[in-house]
Amino acid sequence: MSAVQHPLEHYTRSGMIPHIWCNGCGDGVILGEFLRALDELKYDINRLVVVSGIGCIGRISGYTNTDSFHTTHGRALAFAVGVKAVRPELKPVVISGDGDLFAIGGNHFIHAARRNIDVTVICSNNFNYGMTGGQSGPTTPIDAYTTTTRYGNIEHPFNLAHLAAASGAVYVARWTSIHVKRMRESIKKAINKKGFSFVEVITTCPEEYGRRNKLADPIEGMKWLREVSVVRSFIDPIEAVVQPDKIVVGEFVDTEKPEYSDLLLESTRKVQANLEKEGKLTNVAL
């Protein structure tokens, strides 16, 4: 009898499985839905480059059977920009955490979005630094407890969907790790979108964030997500709040804008056409 294979097995690097994620972690849900999205799109995985930074979800690039690169902390997007700029036929997908993308890598995020380069970013937002043991980060809610906010967090968190929209992303959506089908649909839209697309996924983190904030039980964590989530698609992202008592989910931006690698090609062709017209196609005046 042949061994039973998972239908998505061929999308994974089987030598790397089992993954490192904790029981009840939302990162595995993102991996599953990302692979299902590729499967449903029948996407040519040879065209895909999965790039990640550092942190729990940073390991995801090792699990997908694609060209993949695990960069330094925060630099996944800058790496992906280099890939896309020279190989416009490839599609980089950056999958990383909230700390990686918005604290140490925040500058790269706003500039990649500003350029509207054709990269999809999927952010696992678990409100803390899980890999290093649950420290506060740029998305930690006010008053939340972490290993570095023992008396409650006093910093205002980022609204990532609002930040992405304000920076110039052409597709922005937010779901949680219990909204699996909608998350998958948004990942599919994002991958097919020409331009900078951003899918935020609020994830459960029972072992680190959860156990310090009365969400240690994975089932309780999921129930909490269901209770506080409200779908409000295409409202102004500034109103799409993420608070312990209310998480606004939905699609917030879906628009069109000239894309960077297209503009780059167009500009290069124009330079070369002018050279040809002036008869400088061989050696050229500087």
Partner: protein, 398 residues
């Protein structure tokens, strides 16, 4: 000096010529050092530049931004030097010869991803047009203060290659060489120049394309199903697949085995990887390291210099010889790997070695390490002035 040589910026049209290509501007010019560096990169096949403006390296970025589109390449101005270095690694893994250029403050920021390039064995070239530090220092003033940083700048054990041009011609030649070395050894290669050479205008002869010896990285010769991205051949360098060719490999800054999979617990795998990353350079040090010797055969005193200081040292040697003094020059063309063997041999023959540097004494430590019990004297110089030949000669004789 300039005579009738055209400036590279205002090259007249040359229509209908044979073998004239836009990427290799064969001919003789009156050129800026930074521009010669950019033209060397293009002639070497560089088609991607990611950078951030910084004095005194900005002219390299400016020239690349104008020239890369002409040859179908890409110039990207990134948000900072952290991003520039990351984008260079991305473009290199996408199969394009890639570079960046910066000065001390930017070089410091790049160290993070220079470590990643060393760990993931990424061919790439980084030019550092050195200015006076530490910190913001004196942005428009020259120095050689980053030469140790080139070797030790990122954390962990790794080896790099660093070249030190002394002239505008060498800004071109050694940039070509830097690309070749990075492709052969799959490591970051540095062109460690200084503000004086970067901003020098002098003669530049660009050879014909077919006279440029160009080297490309080893591509996998086996099908994707059998490909192990970090299995090294006998030369300790693995074959390199690129994105989009169906090899579907994984590269990580974590310690990894031949398959590329992380090995975060095994001491053996860590030792094996780090030793190989170092040994692929160390074991080829004699092949990589280049020096130039002048009047060394019968010298009693040897000056060891590099970059613009070596020009002043050469004048000192010529002046000394005219006075009948047995003085010679050992010019370091390669800084890293350090040419241990040559320095050992020279040290055995002379009474004294003088090391003038535009820093507070950096490479002199390497010279001391190789010189045995021979007297080695440091001649540091800080602030915006090259050592005068008279100064060097006086110290050589003191």
């Amino acid at each position: 000096m300039r005579g009738d040589l055209p400036r590279l910026r205002h090259l007249p049209n040359r229509e209908g010529g044979e073998n004239l290509r836009r990427d290799v501007l064969t001919g003789t010019y009156f050129s800026l050092g930074d521009v010669a560096c950019a033209e060397g990169a293009l002639a070497a096949g560089c088609r991607f530049f990611a950078g951030y403006p910084i004095t005194p390296a900005t002219e390299i970025a400016e020239h690349m931004s104008r020239r890369l589109p002409e040859v179908g390449g890409v110039y990207l101005q990134m948000e900072d030097e952290l991003a520039s270095m990351a984008a260079v690694i991305g473009a290199s893994y996408a199969g394009v010869k890639s570079m960046t250029a910066t000065s001390g403050p930017g070089f410091s920021l790049m160290q993070e991803n220079i470590g990643l390039a060393a760990m993931t064995e990424t061919p790439c070239v980084v030019v550092d047009v050195m200015r006076a530090g530490p910190s913001t220092g004196q942005p428009t003033k020259t120095s050689q203060q980053d030469v140790m940083q080139a070797k030790w700048g990122s954390h962990g054990d790794y080896e790099v290659i660093a070249l030190s041009p002394s002239s505008v011609q060498e800004m071109f030649d050694l940039t070509v060489e830097a690309f070749n070395l990075s492709e052969v050894y799959r490591c970051p290669v540095f062109v460690m120049t200084d503000e004086i050479v970067g901003h020098l205008m002098e003669r530049l002869a660009i050879p014909k394309p077919e006279e440029n010896r160009l080297v490309d990285r080893k591509k996998p010769t086996i099908p994707p199903s059998q490909y192990l991205p970090f299995r090294a051949d006998e030369d300790l360098v693995p074959e390199m697949a690129i994105f989009g060719e169906g090899y579907r490999f994984y590269a990580t800054g974590l310690t990894h085995d031949e398959t590329g999979h992380p090995q975060t617990d095994s001491p053996e795998e860590h030792a094996r990887l780090v030793q190989r990353l170092c040994d692929k350079i160390r074991k080829n040090a004699n092949r990589i390291a280049k020096v130039e010797g002048v009047f060394l055969d019968d010298a009693d005193v040897c000056i060891v210099g590099y970059g613009s200081v070596a020009r002043s040292a050469l004048s000192a040697v010529v002046e000394g010889r005219e006075k009948g003094i047995k003085i010679g020059l050992l010019r370091l063309v390669t800084l890293w790997p350090f040419p241990d063997q040559v320095v050992e041999e020279v040290a055995a023959q002379v009474d004294k070695i003088l090391v003038p540097e535009m820093n507070y004494g950096q490479m002199v430590r390497e010279v001391e390490r190789c010189a045995g019990r021979r007297k080695v004297e440091s001649l540091p110089k800080l602030g915006d002035a090259l050592h005068t030949p008279q100064e060097i000669l006086a110290h050589a004789l003191s």
